[in-house]
């Protein structure tokens, strides 16, 4: 009965089986090494289990329109801002973590078949075949666990540090465990410094984790478990010495490491190259002053030679790491070059980490320009494959790109470097999300500043937004480049990009964009102009974006209210939007709205170029939008701009279609008489004229202000009809 249910549940699984392959095997093949007779098949070419998959995946390149494959390929689910990228990926991982928690916490549900008949109940059972250890529940150790040495072996081999300490204590500490196991445990403790290492299982967390800069601090736990275990080991093997010295040196307990090394050498215990590599890395902790440190480094190297230890590439990068950490200066640079030459003579080529340290040493931001990067690239481009060897290797590309951008300011070099990163599967050397974004920040900046415009757009099209979302500073750089190149269409698009990237609330950026749009508006084609106007309208409306049933939400109720645009920015919008001849164009509404904003001082500051507003008034009059024109002139007059008088006269002249002299004569009359004879909008202009002329408006300034605004409001609507 039960098994029936199970079967029917699993039925879809069986039905989705596809008959993937039908092999037609020949008879038993003759075991000749060659197909000399032309009949028997030649011997099989050896391949690893994943070789075919890798060959097939190498045929697939990058698609610039698609997001990373960890995201869903759907317009609603493709993340376009850095925040969304991070939160989507981490949410997915949080789900995986929750599943893993349930699996570990309730391991019984996954390893037994509770639905079996009572006699067989709780028989261990794994539905996965072959069993995949990574998917199997992980054992949980607590004070009640019954543990054996097998458990200790398991925890050590899987680098479960806290669990292994627990098991170690449960097993009875140092006395009951054999020496081999103790040595393994000591090595684990020394490597991790009694701190649970970051799990490698959670890729996204590691990728997005806040950049924990490696600090050179003495973190070694003196008198900890590692020291105790080392003390209990008898006799002390060379491996034990090496492990402890390596642990101390790795966690910058330099003096004790040195002392232990001397002790080992005196006792005649052989040490490994790695021990000296680690010691070379913390020379700076031992001695003060460049000269003493250099001497100490040389002494250590000669000690290695005495002990017949062959240096390897890690020795080189450890030396350079020390040297680059001591500061800069001609002497150190010379010394570093000496070291590199010395190692070249030994047949050891510097790796990526060594190059990283060299770049740090030579290319200081304020120092003289040193072009060692081109040599490095020449060398690296010759290599067939870049093999990561040290964690520091991932710093190379970001630093090198930084050098291209800040130090060399050379786009050619940046292009070469980027090509190197994209070659083969070198991309894994980019590090984590933080490093990747800095890398691209440098690349895009250098492309904007120093590359020809076509190259820049090409780079932007391939990278933004799926690979890299520009930060506000980079966005500004991009806008600057677009402005210089006069790419109006792209500037219009840039606004929607600002919205999508979640930086549309940065007023500085928006103002920069509006400036750029204004400055290159004139030489665009009509279609592009229309696009730019739409973008400008959208910028002004953005703060009052309607949500739900069309009711505008007050800006104050938003969690982060849209900051005020400056008056300059609003003026820019007005300038762009007023460039329409059509009376019924929707742009006029926006213009009117913008003017209201200015008048209600919803924009910060005053416009620096009031002539623009005068132009707006004229254009509005020309298009027959008298209310808009009146509002513009009124604003000028209220703020006491000198242009107000000239603008009001011009506007009136255009409105009433009379020569200027007539208008000036008319304006000398009493305002009260004009009230009856003039169009309300024209009268508003007259009032503005008086205000500008006398400095004081009519007695009921506020009231008239309100009335004119309402009048002009009705006026606009009538104009629209």
């Amino acid at each position: 009965m039960y098994s029936n249910i199970i079967l029917s549940r699993r039925w879809p699984q069986f039905t989705c089986i596809c008959r993937s392959l039908t092999t037609v095997e020949g008879q038993k093949l003759p075991q000749s090494s060659k197909s000399t007779d032309g009949i028997s098949p030649p011997p099989r070419i050896h391949r690893n289990p994943t070789d075919i998959l890798q060959a097939l995946s190498a045929t697939v390149g990058r698609d610039p329109t698609a997001a990373h494959f960890k995201y869903h390929d759907d317009p609603y689910l493709i993340p376009l801002s850095n925040f969304r990228k991070r939160s989507y990926a981490l949410s997915a991982e949080a789900g995986r973590k929750a599943a893993a928690w349930v699996r570990d916490e309730h391991a019984v549900w996954f390893t037994t078949r509770e639905w079996d008949p009572p006699s067989k109940i709780k028989t261990p059972y794994f539905n996965a075949d072959p069993r995949i250890d990574a998917y199997a529940p992980k054992p949980i150790y607590n004070d009640e666990s019954k543990v054996t040495e097998e458990d200790l072996k398991y925890t050590i081999s899987n680098a479960l540090l806290e669990d292994s300490i627990k098991v170690f204590q449960l097993l009875g500490g140092t006395d009951t465990i054999n020496d081999d196991l103790k040595l393994n445990f000591l090595q684990l403790l020394c490597f991790c410094n009694e701190k649970e290492p970051d799990s490698l299982e959670w890729l996204e967390e590691n990728w997005f984790s806040a950049n924990t800069r490696e600090r050179q601090l003495t973190t070694w736990k003196v008198g900890g478990l590692a020291d105790k275990i080392f003390a209990s080991l008898e006799p002390k093997t060379p491996e034990a010495y090496c492990a402890l010295i390596l642990g101390m040196a790795k966690h910058y307990q330099a003096e004790r490491a040195y002392a232990l090394t001397q002790e080992a050498i005196e006792k005649g215990i052989p040490l490994s190259t790695n021990v000296f590599n680690a010691l070379l890395g913390c020379v700076g902790f031992m001695k003060e002053g460049t000269a003493l440190r250099t001497e100490e480094l040389k002494k250590l190297l000669s000690q290695m030679a005495q002990l017949d230890l062959t240096p390897n590439d890690k020795t080189l990068s450890a030396c350079l790491r020390s040297v680059s950490a001591w500061g800069s200066g001609k002497m150190l640079q010379q010394f570093a070059l000496q070291i590199v030459t010395e190692f070249r003579n030994l047949g050891i080529e510097p790796g990526l980490a060594a190059y990283y340290h060299l770049l740090c040493l030579f290319c200081k931001e304020r120092g003289p320009r040193v072009d060692i990067l081109s040599d490095i690239l020449n060398n690296l481009e010759k290599r067939e494959k870049l093999i990561p060897k040290e964690p520091t290797d991932t710093n190379f590309f970001i630093t090198a790109m930084g050098v291209c951008n800040d130090h060399l300011q050379n786009y050619k070099m940046a292009e070469r470097l980027h090509a190197l990163l994209m070659k083969g599967d070198n991309y894994k050397l980019v590090g984590d999300a933080y490093k990747e974004s800095i890398y691209y920040r440098h690349l895009v900046t250098v492309a904007c500043r120093h590359a020809p415009f076509e190259k820049t757009t090409e780079i932007l099209d391939t990278l933004v937004p799926n690979v890299y979302v520009p930060e506000p500073s980079v966005m500004e750089e991009i806008i600057k480049t677009l402005e210089i190149a006069g790419a109006g269409e792209r500037l219009a698009q840039a606004w929607s990009q600002l919205v999508v990237f979640g930086v549309a609330k940065r007023v500085k950026l928006v103002e920069r964009l509006l400036n750029a749009m204004c400055s290159c508006y004139d030489h665009q084609s009509d279609e592009v102009k229309a696009n730019m106007r739409t973008a400008a309208c959208d910028i002004l409306k953005y703060g009052q974006r309607t949500q739900e049933d069309g009711g505008p939400i007050a800006t104050d109720t938003l969690r982060t209210p849209m900051p005020k645009l400056s008056a300059n920015a609003v003026t820019n919008v007005l300038q762009l939007c007023s460039d329409v001849k059509d009376n019924a164009a929707p742009e006029w509404e926006v213009v009117f709205e913008g003017l209201q904003k200015l008048r209600k001082s919803e924009a910060a500051g005053v416009p620096s170029n009031p002539q623009t507003l005068a132009n707006v008034a004229q254009k509005a009059t020309a298009a027959g939008k008298l209310g808009v024109a009146a509002a513009a002139v009124q604003y000028l007059a209220e703020n006491g701009f000198e242009e107000a008088i000239a603008a009001s006269v011009e506007t009136l002249a255009a409105m009433l279609n009379r020569p200027r002299e007539d208008i000036e004569a008319m304006l000398q009359q009493k305002t009260a008489d004009l009230d009856q004879s003039l169009h309300p909008s024209a009268f508003a202009v007259v009032e503005a004229y008086n205000l500008a002329k006398t400095g004081v408006g009519s007695s009921n300034m506020e009231a008239s202000n309100n009335s004119t605004s309402s009048e002009s409001d009705s006026d606009t609507t009538s104009d629209d009809e």
Binding site: Q13, C16, I17, C18, R19, S20, L21, T22, T23, V24, E25, G26, Q27, S35, D37, G38, I39, S40, P41, P42, P43, R44, I45, R47, D51, I52, A55, L56, A58, T59, V60, G61, R62, D63, T65, A66, D73, D74, P75, Y76, I78, L80, S81, N127, A128, D129, P130, Y135, V499, V500, G502, R545, Q547, E548, D549
Partner: protein
């Protein structure tokens, strides 16, 4: 009543429930009096279809949704990068103006967005010719040269007469095992086996329906063992055993008489004897033949004898039918020198 109860439970709060039910059960006059008192509570009509309640759902629109990425694709892109593996159709990443589905009169077929018909059918967008070509190029490094002498189907059949067929299965599930993968099939052409007439006859009897006369193929399938290799071994064993058994001649096989024959052998039958006798009489030759001589008599000496033999054999082996009878009649007329039958 039940319906009303459920309806109200879903609608009203528990507090008003009692009152409402009572009101529904009461007469209309009662209702009028009660509703007059409190105006804010108007009489609620039982709306079974809930046509009134269908309010417009609020649609919240995100303003940062990008347009389909299909719109941004360049015309010279590599399609293999966009659609690298098999997956369900997705409208926003396929830059094709596809339409599919039921067409109401006067309409066009539904477009690609939210189109279940397009999602249901398997697509081969991941296997466009350039992709297939690129993948073949990538796999060439694992391929060895084809043996030069195996250049035709006949040559392959000649050198590798035995075929074994097994199937591999690909799952999405915790286990990669499939019970169907254990089944092994072996195929061999009977003519390629080294058998004489007796052995072949015995072999065919042994394998029974596993032999297909039309294609001359013997197909042996085994699925009784749990593993594929065991089944392969088993089919090989079956073939070997049948082959050697068919060469054995048991003592009792000599006792086989004409009645035991599984088919009509004209040479051993009375028909031939009569024909030979008739022929000898007709040509005035002495008749001193023994039984063995009759069997081995060369029929080609008799004009039209071969045809008669075939006609009789087919009549006896294939049974009486219009065809065989007609053939027989024609053969007899020819043999006897009679004119052909007029229809």
């Amino acid at each position: 009543m039940n319906v009303i109860l459920q309806y109200y439970r879903s609608l009203g709060t528990a507090r008003t429930l009692n009152l409402r039910i009572w009101r529904l059960n009461s007469t209309s006059a009662d209702v009028a009096t009660t509703t007059k008192g409190d105006e804010e509570e108007e009489f609620r009509v039982l709306d079974i279809l809930k046509s009134r309640q269908r309010t417009k759902k609020k649609v919240t629109r995100r303003n940062d949704v990008q347009p389909d990425r299909a719109d941004r694709m360049s015309i010279d892109q590599k399609w293999g990068n966009v659609w690298p593996g098999p997956k369900t159709f997705h409208p926003s990443s396929v830059p094709l103006p596809l339409r599919q589905g039921y067409v109401p009169k006067g309409h066009v077929p539904p477009g690609k967005k939210a189109n279940a018909e397009l999602m249901k059918i398997p697509n081969f967008l991941h296997l466009t010719p350039p992709v297939v070509k690129a993948q073949c190029e990538a796999l060439k490094q694992f391929c060895t040269e084809w043996p030069s002498l195996l250049n035709s189907e006949e040559a392959i059949e000649n050198h590798y007469p035995v075929e074994t067929i097994t199937s591999d299965y690909c799952h999405a599930g915790p286990t990669i095992r499939n019970p169907l993968a254990r089944i092994a099939t072996l195929r061999v052409k009977l003519s390629t086996l080294n058998l004489n007439k007796h052995a072949q006859d015995k072999f065919i009897r042994l394998v029974g329906e596993r032999y297909d006369e039309e294609t001359d193929l013997v197909t042996i399938t085994a699925d009784r063992c749990p593993l594929r290799q065991q089944n392969l071994d088993y089919v090989n064993y079956l073939l070997t055993a049948c082959y050697h058994e068919s060469w054995n001649v048991e003592d009792w096989e000599h006792d086989k008489t004409e009645e035991d024959m599984e088919y009509y052998d004209w040479d051993k039958n009375a028909s031939k004897k009569s024909l030979v006798q008739w022929h000898l009489r007709a040509t005035n030759m002495p008749n001193d033949l023994s039984d063995m001589d009759y069997v081995e008599y060369d029929i080609s000496k008799i004009p039209n004898g071969e045809e008669y033999k075939n006609a009789v054999s087919s009549l006896m082996n294939n049974g009486e039918s219009e065809e065989t009878l007609k053939n027989y009649g024609a053969a007899v007329r020819k043999l006897l020198g009679l004119p052909e039958a007029k229809i």
